[in-house]
Structure formats: C-alpha cells, structure tokens
Symmetry: C2
Subunit: 240 residues, 2 copies
C-alpha cells in the first residue's frame, strides 16, 4: 500500500487518483463543516463550484427540504441560508435537509478527486474514523489537501500528518511518498501542540482577523465524530 499527499487541488493528478482511495482535507473549514452537517443528521451534501449552480440545483428540491450553504472570501453568500461555519450546522437546522454547498477551496478539491474509487472527506473531527475507512478500501491512499488559494496550507498539512499516523498504525509497512513522509514527521513532532503549529498558518491569521477563532477551535477538536462523509457516485452526492 502506497500513501502520498497532494498539497493543493491544482497539484493533484486526476490520472493518478483514478481508481484509488482519496481523502479530501479542508480543515478550515469545508470538510469540517460537511462532516458536522452529516453527523448532525443532514441527509446529503451536494457540492457545487459556483453560486449560480447552487441556485440552479436548488430548483430541483422542494422548499424546506434543502439549505444553501458555503462562503466566498470566508463570508456568507448573499441569499444563502448558512455560511461555512461548522457551528451553524446544528441538528435543529440541518436534520433531514439536503445541503447545497459551495466554498472556495473545499468544493474544488472534491471535484478534483471524482475519479477516485473511494472518495472520503476528512478533518480533525473524524480523522481516526476516516483513516480506518480509507485503509479498509484496500487501495493506495492519496490525501488531497485543499490548500488555500492554490497554496500549501499548514492546517490541512497537519491533518494529513495525523491521518498518516493512523494509517501507518493500520498498515505499518505502507510506503510513503515524499510529502507524506514530511507531513507525518511534522505531525509527530507537533502532536502535543497542533494549535501552536496551525497558528503559524497564514490562513489562520486571516480567519482570526475575521473573528472566526471559535470556528478554528471547533475544527481542531480531534475525533469527536465517527461519521465519514463519502462521495456517492450514483447519487452524485456526499452522504454517510
């Protein structure tokens, strides 16, 4: 079993991902939010790339059965029900709803990995369960970090390292690609200070400046969910 990491969506080779297991990571905040929504009873999440497409797809659903969620520049989109704060996706709001969802980096990363045989969404919130599900699929595992505006991002990198730590426990002989080796080491030497590590991320400072520190604290909680969102190819939806 071979395991490696792509630092951004743009860096990911769709050819290489075809038929493999892919864990998409967008810690701050898309995969944390989608995991929260599904863990709290949302029936499915439909990721779309554009705001226009979100509205177009919404017309397929009866009113009160769906919610529009996501962000542009980390802010709520006008006329959407929800922003990209995972803390907004509580049970009372999302239960049995379809979430039509668009974010800057996260939905692009999911889109990039559609050729995978098994496409799972990971974050700190569900890392242990996500690693196990990826391992159970029995294929090479690629971790696809969403990154931030096309650049490598420490928050996703730290989470990739944590996932690799779990994956290597499950498959001690797994071969690691160069970036996988780097991020497993980064995680192991920072595991007792993940917040301190992530506070070095340029993305972190931007979110703090926008008053989103509570979201960050939420997203850094480890293994509070066993829910692992997966892409369902037949439905073209993210489900549990």
């Amino acid at each position: 079993m071979f395991m490696d990491v792509f630092p951004t969506s743009e860096a990911a080779s769709t050819d290489l991902l075809a038929g493999k297991t892919v864990l998409v990571i967008d810690v701050l905040r898309a995969t944390s939010t989608i995991t929260t929504a599904l863990a709290n009873g949302a029936s499915q999440v439909l990721p779309v790339l554009t705001i226009k497409e979100a509205h177009r797809r919404a017309s397929d659903f009866a009113p009160d059965t769906y919610l529009l969620g996501g962000e542009r520049k980390a802010l709520k989109i006008p006329n959407f029900h929800l922003d990209n704060s995972p803390r907004a996706y509580v049970r009372e709001v999302v239960k049995n709803k379809t979430i039509i969802f668009t974010t800057t980096n996260g939905t692009r990363a999911i889109n990039r990995a559609l050729s995978a045989q098994t496409l799972l969404l990971a974050s700190f919130l569900n890392a242990r369960a996500a690693a196990r599900r990826a391992w159970e699929a029995g294929k090479d595992v690629y971790l696809l970090c969403a990154g931030t505006r096309g650049r490598y991002s420490l928050d996703d990198a730290a989470c990739a390292g944590m996932l690799l730590q779990y994956l290597r426990k499950l498959q001690p002989g797994a071969q690691l690609g160069d970036l996988a080796y780097t991020l497993l080491h980064l995680y192991r030497t920072h595991r007792k200070g993940i917040l301190q590590l992530i506070s070095q991320a340029s993305h972190y400072q931007r979110l703090v400046d926008m008053g989103l520190e509570a979201d960050i604290m939420y997203c850094l909680q480890e293994n509070i969910y066993t829910a692992v969102p997966r892409w369902d190819k037949k439905q073209n939806m993210i489900v549990l």
Copy 2:
C-alpha cells in the same frame, strides 16, 4: 521580508515571483551540476528546455567553445558531450566553455522563474553563499524547488530548509509562509542526518538503482563552493 517555498515548478506563480528574489533548487542534480561547472571555470551556462533547442543554440558557437550537457530520464542524451553528473564537470573539461544545458526538472524550474528580479541557483554545495546573496538583494525571497516529475521531492525540500535556516539567521524577523515553516522545521530536526532524510525520497532510490549513488554523495556536500550562479537578463545566460 517574507520567505516562502514552492514545492514544484508547476506550483510556482510567475506573477508572485515577478520582481522578487528566487532561489531555484534542484539538488539531484541540475543546480548542483551548474554550480560545479561555473565554480570550475565554465564561462556561462545556457539552459534550454528541449534537445532540439540545445542543438539549434549550439550552432551560434564556434566548435570547441561549447559543450552540450544534460539528461533525459537521468541518462546522457545521445550526441551530447556531458550527462547531468556534476562530477563530470571538472575544470579540465569545462574551463572557459559555454555549457548548453537541458534537464527534465531543473531547466523548467529556471524557466519558470525568469520574471524574478534576482534569480539565483542553490544546492547544498553553495547553500550558505546562496542564502547570503538572496538576502543581500533585499526583496521577498521565494525558494522554487524543481521537484521530480511535477511532484514535491524530499531532496529539494531539505535543501530549501537549509537555505531558510541561513536566511532566518540573516533576517531573524522574516515572516515565513506555510511551506517555508514546514521545511525549516524538517531541516532543523534532520540536520544531523540529511542523508538518512533524503534516502526516504523516491527520487533517491531511482538514482541509486541507476548506479548514481556517488553523484548523490557529491551533491550532499555542504558549502564546498561560494559560487552562486545567477541568471543574467541581458545575456540570457547563467553566470557567476
């Protein structure tokens, strides 16, 4: 002063590099070889992207004033004088010659950085001097790793970390981007075992399998040269 790293040529934003200082890194082996050639008295190095272009440019030079050097798939190119082994670029061979040079990853990385105000070539062989020259230029510094076939490569990453270590000593308050932070940490925690670190690289194993271990040992020597190759915009050449 801001410092960051691009993991591959493809990841580098030419817009972002414009007007900045760029250190191109291709440890195994292009920047190590070019540094060796110039340190050993080659008059200039002309990097080209294709074999065809190498022959075309050669016709501008009198016989015996130039050498064709480089590799494809790590091997010597037919009808070229030299391969990409830095150990072949000894003084008796290269003195006062123009080297017309093409490699798979290295020349592409150089090409990607032509918008830089100051474009320097770095390797373990000249890291301390290269960091100082980059710092003296007084602009933001981007380290552009050539990578291996479009992927992040541990050998270049380790050298980037070493360069950042020197750069931070020269400019203690420098702000680091996310990948710069990661690779500085990688270097600091492996500085006593760089060979062991680089032996994890997939590229490393490929070169060893091809019998190129002596090249690797050569390229891992630290600070044996103070020569820092730079791109001369007027001549369109790499010179000292």
